[in-house]
């Protein structure tokens, strides 16, 4: 069944469902003043399944985890965030989180599909024959998915704090989770993200020690800096020195920085270009 469409066709389908979820959420907020929780969730779930198919086709074609260019990295990050949302979203019961996740997934998938340069070439055999390095890369990007969700819950936190301080509790503010719930989920996501990135770095460093020339200093420095920044934020939060609005802003800013850091990290890899798209 996967062979029915190309990888990009599957991924376009996924992006359209994410877009539909985001548009439905926007319509619901504007006309009804409330997020459309269940329907957005269903649209995201369908998009997620299509994205799995697309990434599966691409993975089969490249013979590994599809993380060979900016397009694949963006798709994988969106998929990671969705994976977590579909699990966390059910217990969190926040329609607004679904709406924001739909927005993020739409942006990441549509932009990556729309910019041809991001998928014009890809590095072949980036992991060699070593599955552990592939695991390292997948873990690192999955942690970015966690940080993406953390950034979204932090945005919700900022909205909630604004609504409480400005005494605007009606409208769509009434669908925001409580300050304490958002804070707890934020700390948990931060802890999970830091642990995943730490595991990824540990796996990567075990192979870097054997061949220090295999990774550029820039990539090493930036990825370690991202982990240190998040770990520091976690430590400060647990100590009670980084709380409430400052904690939320820090998480949003760190994710923006982490996303930006992907550009030099990706560019620092050894260029081994090959055509990216799979044939039908």
């Amino acid at each position: 069944m996967l062979a029915l469409f190309t990888d990009r066709q599957w991924l376009w389908g996924a992006a359209e469902f994410y877009l539909a979820g985001w548009m439905l959420g926007t319509w619901s907020l504007v006309t009804r003043g409330r997020p459309s929780g269940v329907l957005v969730y269903i649209l995201l779930a369908v998009g997620y399944l299509l994205q799995i198919c697309g990434l599966g086709v691409r993975g089969q074609a490249v013979g590994g985890c599809p993380l060979g260019n900016a397009f694949e990295i963006s798709q994988f990050t969106a998929w990671s965030a969705l994976s977590l949302y579909l699990v966390v979203g059910v217990t969190f019961r926040s329609g607004l989180l679904g709406y924001l996740t739909a927005g993020l997934a739409t942006a990441l998938t549509l932009i990556s599909l729309a910019v041809p340069g991001w998928d014009a070439t890809r590095r072949a055999h980036i992991f060699g024959a070593n599955a552990w390095i592939e695991f390292h890369a997948a873990l690192a990007l999955f942690s970015y998915g966690v940080f993406a969700l953390l950034a979204l819950t932090s945005l919700l936190s900022l909205f909630r704090l604004y609504s409480l301080k400005s005494m605007h509790l009606g409208g769509w503010f009434s669908f925001l989770p409580s300050v304490l719930d958002l804070d707890q989920i934020g700390v948990r996501l931060l802890g999970v993200g830091v642990a995943l990135l730490a595991a990824s770095l540990a796996v990567g460093s075990a192979y870097w020690i054997q061949d220090t020339a295999s990774v550029s200093a820039a990539k090493l420095l930036i990825t370690v800096a991202v982990w240190v920044a998040y770990a520091l934020a976690l430590g400060l939060r647990l100590k009670g020195w980084l709380i409430a609005k400052r904690f939320a802003w820090t998480c949003v800013a760190l994710f923006a920085a982490a996303l930006l850091s992907l550009v030099p990290v990706d560019a620092s890899r050894r260029p081994l270009p090959q055509t990216a798209r799979t044939e039908p």
Partner: protein, 353 residues
């Protein structure tokens, strides 16, 4: 009126509180009266909705004199003059009676528009009617459809969003900060009426524990006993402030009893857990500077009144939309009820239990 759906009674719209006090039916008396009325040959089916804002008899008449008999029996029991009752009387039949019940169950007819308690009260009224065999095929269908419609209105409009009383707004704020209140520790400073009302609202919404502190320890102990709370000497509020999540400040002190420095010191012991300070005192008892601290939320009487006002306006804006939905429901349901009324005409009424 033979075989017709009707509602007769008195509500807060027409009857002032002094009249409603006289018309109020205590629990046992309501049960007895309902049994008596169900047994009337003129009444085929009957349900009694009895709340602090309304006494309403919903029923199906077996004879045109049914509502007159009910009115007479009710006034006799309450020792209330029938002519006087007629001045405040609500008397509707057919589709209008159906629409009225729809609006009542959805909270549109409530004094506090959109309140949800009435839905439970209508359910209780229906359950009581069923238990006493007052509900037959017509009322069964009507009430079940009414419950569906009321739920639809609540979930598809913003009619019940936002609280409209000061005490409930305080609780709503707490829920926006702490979510579930079961682990929240509440401290009430002052033992006056408004503080007590707010403390009760917190307890009703499941607040974890309540502690009462007042300059008069005997009054604090008395109120604590009434509320099932603990009492705390007033001068210990400073050293123990950090133990509480929500502080309701309602003292008559002319000066702040919670200064910014004191709140800052308390927050050092619990930096990651928010602190909600509800200041119901005039002059204000919580230093304004406390609100600028991280994770500290301060609201005074004006703030609460402003939020309540906004919520009230938002609910009122939804009324037209709700009325349209309920009117459509009444239009769809009424033909079915008419069929049920015609077919139940020849069937003997359910025997009272």
């Amino acid at each position: 009126m033979n075989g017709a759906l009707f509602v007769i009674g008195a509500t807060h719209h027409q009857a002032p509180i002094a009249v409603r006090e006289k018309l109020a039916l205590p629990g046992e008396a309501a049960g007895r009266l309902q049994q008596e009325l169900i047994a009337l040959p003129e009444v085929r089916e009957l349900a009694l909705l009895n709340t602090c804002n309304r006494v309403e008899f919903y029923g199906v008449a077996a004879h045109p004199t049914a509502t007159g008999r009910i009115q007479a029996a009710f006034c006799r029991q309450q020792h209330f003059d029938v002519t006087e009752f007629e001045r405040f009387r609500l008397d509707l039949s057919g589709r209008s009676a159906l629409l009225h019940l729809l609006e009542v169950a959805a909270g549109l007819d409530s004094q506090m528009v959109g309140e949800t308690e009435i839905f439970g009260q209508v359910k209780e009224a229906y359950a009581a009617a069923q238990a006493q065999r007052g509900a037959g095929p017509v009322l069964n269908r009507v009430f079940q459809k009414v419950f569906q419609a009321a739920k639809h209105v609540r979930t598809h409009t913003a009619i019940n969003l936002g609280q409209v009383s000061v005490a409930n707004v305080a609780v709503e704020l707490a829920r926006n900060i702490f979510g579930n209140l079961t682990t929240a520790q509440v401290l009430l400073l002052g033992a006056g009426e408004i503080g007590e009302k707010t403390a009760r609202a917190f307890l009703n919404r499941g607040a974890g524990t309540l502690t009462v502190a007042s300059r008069r320890m005997d009054r604090a102990m008395e109120l604590a006993a009434q509320l099932g709370a603990r009492a705390l000497p007033f001068d210990q509020r400073e050293s123990r402030l950090g133990e509480f999540d929500i502080v309701v400040c309602a003292t008559s002190s002319p000066e702040p009893v919670l200064g910014a420095g004191l709140v800052a010191a308390a927050m050092k012991k619990r930096p990651t857990r928010p602190l909600l300070l509800i200041d119901l005192s005039l002059p204000r008892n919580v230093d304004e500077g406390a609100g600028r601290l991280q994770n500290v939320f301060v609201y005074n009487l004006d703030d609460l009144a402003k939020i309540a006002d906004e919520n009230r306006r938002a609910r009122e804006a939804e009324i037209t939309k709700c009325r349209r939905i309920l009117s459509d429901r009444a239009d769809a349901l009424w033909p079915q009820v008419e069929v049920q009324l015609r077919s139940s005409n020849g069937i003997p009424k359910p025997s009272a239990g």
